[in-house]
Structure formats: C-alpha cells, structure tokens
C-alpha cells in the first residue's frame, strides 16, 4: 500500500491522525506529515478509513 496526500487539498483537520496516528501526524507547524508512506498490513483498514473520511478528500491510496 502506498499513500499519497495532495497537500494543496489538505486543511490539517487531523481526522486521518485520529484514525491512524502511526501513519499521519499534524505537527505544531500546522502541516500534515505522512510518517509512514508504506504502512504494514494491519494498518491498511485504518488508512482506508482515513482516505474515505478525510473531510477535504486529500488522501489517495494505491496498491
């Protein structure tokens, strides 16, 4: 699984961080960082939930 964030679309709502905190992190500077772009299998469902629930639809996931 490969995660891509369209940073222009991202508004740092941190919904993704809530669902998959070991993958997404909104830091003190207010920007989102993907801290694990190729997450292990046990995190896939959390990442897919983050993709689906991102309020601004900024996350895409490919195999």
């Amino acid at each position: 699984m490969r995660i891509e964030v369209d940073y222009d679309k991202c508004q740092s709502n941190a919904v993704c961080e809530g669902l998959a905190p070991s993958v997404f992190e909104v830091r003190d500077d207010g920007f989102l960082y993907v801290i694990n772009e190729n997450p292990p299998e046990d995190l896939h469902s959390a990442v897919l939930a983050a993709q689906a629930q991102c309020p601004t639809q900024a996350i895409s996931v490919s195999d």
Binding site: Y7, K9, S12, D29, G30, A52, P55, T56
Partner: protein, 381 residues
C-alpha cells in the same frame, strides 16, 4: 522556448503552473497575480484563521512561487488574441499557451459600499482585518445566508460576539441545497446563539463608526457588517475576448480548453466547464474542483493530453460541530430525500429517478459509497 502565461496566482493558477512545470521542464512560465501574496488556501479564512487556530503560515500552499516566475501585484488588464499578448500596467506578456485562473470576487451589495464598517471577505488581507475587528466588537451583522456568511457568524460567536444573519430567502443556503439541509444548519446556528432574520432585506441607514441597519420591520445598531451575497467570476479584464457561458463563467470544454481555442484554458471559480455527466456547462465554487480542473487544463495545453474532467464535484463547509459535504449537484429545486446514518444524516437529490447529488451532514464515512452511487446513476442515464 514555449511560453505559458497563467493569469491568477491563487489555487488554480498555482496548481496549473506546477503541473505545467512537471510536464515540461523547459517551459517558460509566468504567473500574473493581482494579489501581493504567495498562493494560499481560502477555506480557513472564514474558519480557523479567523479563530486563530490556523496561522498565516499554514494557509500558504506548499511550493508557492517555485518553478515558475510569479509576478505579484501585477493584474492582467487585457488580452489581445490576434497577437497572443496579455497586458499588465507597464508590460506586455507574449504567450504560446494561456491559462485563465482569475477566480471570483464578492458581489457588491447595493447600498453597502466596502469601508471601515462594511466588509467583504475573499482575501487574506480581508480576513486579517476582519480578525482584528472581531476582537473589539460586540455585535456583528452578516448580510447573506450562504456558506461563508454562516461560517463567519460561527467564528464570531465563538469569540463571544453577538451575531445577526440577514437573509432575503426563506432559508439559508437556499441557492445550493434543499430545505432539509437548511433546517439543520439554521437549528445549529440558533443553538449557537446566532439570531436569524429570514425573508428579510436590509439597508444601511447610517454608515460610519456605529452603523445602523434596518430591514423595514426593525432597526438595529451594529458594530460591523459583513456582506456575503455571492461572487462574480473575474472576467471584466477580458473585455469580451473569451466566450462566456450562461452562468457568466468562461466557457470551457470538458478537457479544460476554452471553447474555440487550442492554446487557451481556464480553471477554477472563473470557469464554466462542460460536464459530461450532467450534459451542461457548470461553474463551481469549490476548492476541490479548482485543484482538479487546474491539472486537466495544464495537461491539455502543455502535453496535449486531453482527459475529460468527469469527476463528481465535491465541496465542504464547517459549521461549528457540523461538517457539511456536498457531492455532485444537489440542485435545491430537486426532490430531497433524507436518510439517517450512524452519527449524521445524508440528503439525496434526484431528477427523474436519477441521483444527481447528495449532501452529507456529519457523515464523511458515507462519501465514497455515495459518490459511486451517483456516478453509476448518472452514467446510466
């Protein structure tokens, strides 16, 4: 060397320039921007930025001004199609390829000229001034019950400001969504202590330090008026050189090229694109649409790769604890169906049995499913 000129240095303009650079490292790219700013996101301006939770640094787009020549504070003043030139105050800019991404600007309400006590909100400067003002006022009057007005009202409320929203229609958001959604939004605003005057038109009785506003039945003093009555696409500078659609946006085909032109594209709030799934040209005022259209336009112009933009338009609005997401075209004249989901509600809009759009209220987990459903329904038409 081929020259690309992009007019408008905000979301769609920046995105088109970045994409053009990716596709052609040799291209000469100039972005003419009216504002004196690096490209930034507008959505926080009525939300987190006003509240102070989103910094001026955070609203910037990443990589703004990199990979292209950005000329800030340099509005385009005219277009010469015969000579392929864009005019600015003291220069001419020849182009081989042109992207128009001039966005939209607030519609001015008659009788409410912008000044110290009457504000319009579009730019970072507008927002910074409004933010300062909210710190020191007791009462705010918002004229126009649309997304931005309601967001400003909520931001002001949460800073302890008394707020009155005046809307001429019987419902808020009545231009863009159906009754059911309006009702939820209205209830939410009332719960937050915002006073709503619906079916009401106002005039300014007295401008100045303490403006007095009247809607014919009542008169009140306020400290500040914010007007949010919609936007007009910024096309005046074109002086009729490019074709406009019925909705006054520049008429663009499904790939991103201005109809009748091979070297000119337009994207974002200024553009009215032919949408293959809806069978008509539509101008959107959604952030996500501008980001995506910009890529299609750049690709069609720079790489001659013509891919129709046939995605479903998507937009959102934060109304305090309510997250509203709009997918497709939830035309308020269509029949609205309401469905309860886990923590929220969804509203479906149909035309002759076909789903055309939906609004999700606190139901982001339903979005993917709904998008697929609307897509399938429109494709089968």
């Amino acid at each position: 060397m081929r020259r690309l000129v992009v007019v408008g240095g905000a979301l769609a303009g920046h995105r088109a320039a970045v994409q053009a650079r990716r596709l052609d490292p040799e291209l000469d790219i100039t972005v003419l921007a009216a504002e004196d700013e690096l490209p930034y996101q507008r959505p926080p301006l009525s939300k987190g930025y006003l509240l102070g939770t989103v910094s001026a640094q955070r609203v910037r787009l990443r990589g703004g001004g990199e990979g292209y020549r950005l000329l800030p504070h340099t509005p385009a003043l005219g277009l010469d199609l015969g000579k392929s030139l864009v005019f600015t105050a003291d220069q001419v800019h020849p182009f081989d390829l042109l992207v128009v991404a001039t966005g939209a600007e607030p519609r001015q309400l008659e009788g409410f000229p912008p000044d110290q006590s009457v504000r319009y909100l579009r730019t970072l400067t507008d927002a910074t001034r409004l933010k300062e003002a909210l710190n020191s006022i007791g009462h705010l009057t918002v004229i126009g019950g649309g997304f931005i007005g309601a967001e400003v009202a909520i931001s002001a409320r949460s800073q302890g400001v008394q707020v009155t929203i005046v809307e001429q229609s019987p419902h808020l958001f009545s231009r863009v969504v159906g009754r059911g959604v309006s009702r939820i939004v209205e209830d939410n605003l009332r719960k937050l202590g915002v006073q709503l005057l619906l079916n009401s038109t106002t005039h300014l009785e007295l401008a100045g330090k303490q403006p007095i506003v009247s809607d014919g039945t009542q008169t009140w003093t306020t400290d500040l008026v914010v007007v949010g009555v919609g936007v007009n696409p910024c096309t005046a500078w074109l002086n009729g050189t490019l074709p406009l659609a019925e909705d006054q946006g520049i008429h663009v085909d499904a790939m991103g090229l201005v109809t009748g032109f091979e070297q000119i594209g337009a994207a974002g709030d200024v553009a009215s694109w032919d949408h293959p799934l809806y069978g008509r040209s539509i101008r959107f005022e959604h952030f996500e649409v501008a980001t995506n259209q910009a890529l299609h336009t750049a690709q069609a112009l720079v790489a001659n790769r013509r891919v129709a933009y046939d995605e479903l338009p998507f937009g959102w609005s934060d109304q305090g604890d309510l997250l509203l997401q709009v997918i497709g075209v939830p035309d308020p004249t269509l029949i609205e169906e309401e469905e309860e989901v886990e923590d929220g509600k969804i509203f479906l809009y149909r035309r002759d049995d076909h789903l055309e759009g939906a609004v999700l209220v606190n139901a982001p987990e339903e979005l993917t499913k709904l998008r697929d459903k609307i897509m399938a329904s429109l494709r089968n038409r």
